[in-house]
């Protein structure tokens, strides 16, 4: 059994380290700091932490003002609230200005579970990928989270980073080196490529294992930076393996699948298949039950690989 670690906790701890390294780091939250784990930073640096209360839109405006005055701002809440609720503020104050604000959204996707559809952010990546100038990252595990948060702090400009609620298996190797805008090959293969992000990377690796026993060699790519996308990695995979499956915890529209398909269609058309939430909301339930019901499983990826292989020339 692989070790499971909470990416939120890693985020909270990384923020504290960043706070020690750079006094320009300021953190904002909206009455969720014990859940987003920004409360670690709040305890360590009470002067540089502001709880905005239930004022998400106000928080993004304040973040922009702080950033315009030289601060490196991290703003956190649940992914649902910090994406759709304050989208206009993000569009005008962050995207159109390019200011140095890092939106770190926790509890993304359906795996937030029992709270139900009001709390399940499944359109957030579509929203933030649509905004010019935003860098959008979905780390696959806690190891990658720590590095992605550091990379965000080091690069000027607005970011949207989505983390999950639960603990997730570690999939990145010990010597893993995260580079913004660069995807990572997690497993080599020549027959087909599975492109995945977030918790779906672990499922893709599991599917590849099953398929290997059936004689199918899958390449697995962790596409943790959705924007800017690693086009080169996509084109190489399409040309070398001739078929692609994209797996994500998001609606069909506007997320990783759409972004990869756009590159494939233009640069190297090959058959593709998609594993995602299609076009509907989920419901309350345990994370694992929901993943099963809505087809975000290794088995669903195996099926998608088989269907796309059948279409291969």
């Amino acid at each position: 059994m692989t070790q499971e670690v909470s990416a939120r906790e890693t985020y909270g701890e990384t923020l504290v380290k960043l706070g020690h390294e750079n006094e320009k780091v300021v953190v904002l939250d909206a009455d969720l700091s014990p859940s987003t784990m920004t409360h670690f930073f709040a305890q360590e640096f009470p002067q540089r932490f502001f709880d905005c209360g239930l004022e998400e839109q106000n928080m993004i405006g304040i973040a922009a003002g702080l950033a315009a005055s030289g601060k490196i701002v991290f703003a956190s809440s649940f992914a649902v609230f910090i994406s759709s609720r304050c989208f206009d503020q993000a569009r005008i104050c962050l995207s159109q200005t390019g200011l140095d604000v890092k939106i770190i959204a926790t509890h993304g996707g359906i795996t937030v579970g029992e709270d139900g559809i009001s709390h399940q952010a499944i359109e957030d990546l579509s929203l933030y990928c649509s905004l010019p100038g935003f860098t959008v990252v979905v780390p696959a595990d806690a190891v990658e989270t720590a590095q992605a948060i550091r990379a965000a702090a080091a690069m000027y400009g607005p970011f949207y980073v989505r983390l999950g609620r639960g603990k997730a298996p570690l999939v990145c190797p010990r010597d893993y080196q995260f580079t913004l805008g660069r995807a990572a090959v997690m497993r080599e293969g020549r027959d087909v490529t599975i492109v995945a992000m977030g918790i779906m990377v672990a499922k893709a690796l599991e599917a590849a294992e099953v398929l290997a026993r059936q004689g199918v060699n899958c390449r697995v790519i962790n596409m943790s930076t959705l924007k800017p996308l690693d086009d080169e990695m996509v084109i190489t995979a399409a040309s070398e393996t001739g078929a692609l499956v994209v797996a994500e915890e998001h609606l069909a529209q506007g997320g990783l699948g759409s972004r990869v398909a756009q590159v494939v269609a233009e640069k190297m058309p090959v058959p593709m298949s998609f594993v995602n939430l299609k076009d509907s909301y989920a419901m309350s339930g345990k994370a694992d039950e929901l993943l099963e019901k809505y087809g975000l499983t290794a088995a669903a990826i195996v099926q998608a690989v088989k269907s796309v292989m059948a279409k291969k020339q």
């Binding site: 014990p34 709880d51 839109q57 609230f81 609720r85 029992e114 345990k286 039950e289």
Partner: protein, 289 residues
């Protein structure tokens, strides 16, 4: 009809659709709702006990005395509407709906489970009696205004009740709605604040001070009434008083205690969004006998 739109009276609809229970019985109902809240959340293993318990007396008064409604006919067009803006208090709403007959009390045990009609936050498409889907705070007053405006447009005499949390008085949308309701003189809308003084992280005055709350609403053009939100008689008389106020919306600021009725949950931020263990639930149920 040319009569003044503000001149509706509750008597316009035939009687018999109100349960009209006396205060002593309402107190017993409120205790029952609290027991359901504890059992439901403990069974589900997640949920929000604190803000559900603080609102139990208000919902008991509304569903079992004040409101005209027909549990067998949830879409009856003349029903009074109750809109739960603070959606995380879904358990108290489900308990009130079950006890008044919208669905069986047994169904409460399905809260938050796969396939249940009782979602973690209210879903108007799934649950009979739920007027508004909620869960993202600060949206309910706007929705209530829409419902109250429709009553005016359709010449209907139903009342619209909205329950806000004090935390929601931090959201900008709440104050946009406040301006609107006063501007359009919505006196068929009765808003209540479950003012338990706490939000997720801790005490509201420490996280984001909203006081003086009554004066803020007054400055926005509202009629305000401050009450003890656990005193059934005060709740009932405040609503009666609100109904006589013409030309202005009324807000009843109900001062409550988060976690009310369970000693170790009262004023305890830990039980904002955490289920009791089975031992804690047993202890809580004992206190609520």
């Amino acid at each position: 009809m040319t009569e003044d739109v503000t001149a509706f009276s509750a008597q316009a609809v035939p009687p018999g659709d109100r349960l009209d229970l006396p205060p002593a019985q309402l107190e017993e109902i409120a205790r029952k709702l609290r027991r359901h809240i504890i059992s439901m959340i403990a069974t589900a293993g997640s949920g929000h006990p604190g803000g559900s318990l603080s609102a139990a007396d208000i919902l008991a008064a509304l569903y079992f005395h004040v409101m005209r409604h027909r549990p067998q006919d949830p879409h009856w067009s003349d029903r009074d509407r109750f809109i739960l803006s603070k959606g995380h208090a879904a358990p108290v709403l489900y308990a009130a709906l079950a006890e008044s007959g919208y669905f069986s009390v047994e169904e409460l045990g399905s809260l938050r489970k796969m396939g249940s009609r009782l979602q973690g936050h209210p879903d108007s498409k799934l649950t009979p009696g739920v007027e508004m889907s909620a869960g993202s705070l600060g949206m309910g007053l706007s929705f209530g205004i829409g419902v109250a405006l429709a009553a005016r447009l359709d010449n209907r005499s139903y009342w619209t009740y909205v329950l806000l949390s004090d935390g929601e008085c931090e959201e900008g949308q709440t104050w946009e709605a406040a301006l609107f309701a006063a501007h359009f003189k919505l006196d068929n809308l009765i808003t209540m604040v479950d003012c338990n003084g706490m939000q997720l992280t801790g005490f509201t005055r420490e996280v984001m001070n909203i006081e003086p709350l009554s004066q803020k609403w007054q400055a926005f053009g509202w009629n305000t009434i401050d009450i003890d939100g656990h005193d059934i008689k005060q709740i009932l008389s405040a609503i009666t008083q609100a109904k006589t106020k013409k030309g202005k919306p009324t807000i009843i600021i109900a001062h409550t205690i988060k976690g009310k009725g369970v000693s170790f949950m009262e004023n305890n931020a830990k039980f904002h969004g955490k289920a009791p263990t089975s031992e804690e639930a047993a202890k809580a149920l004992q206190e609520l006998q």
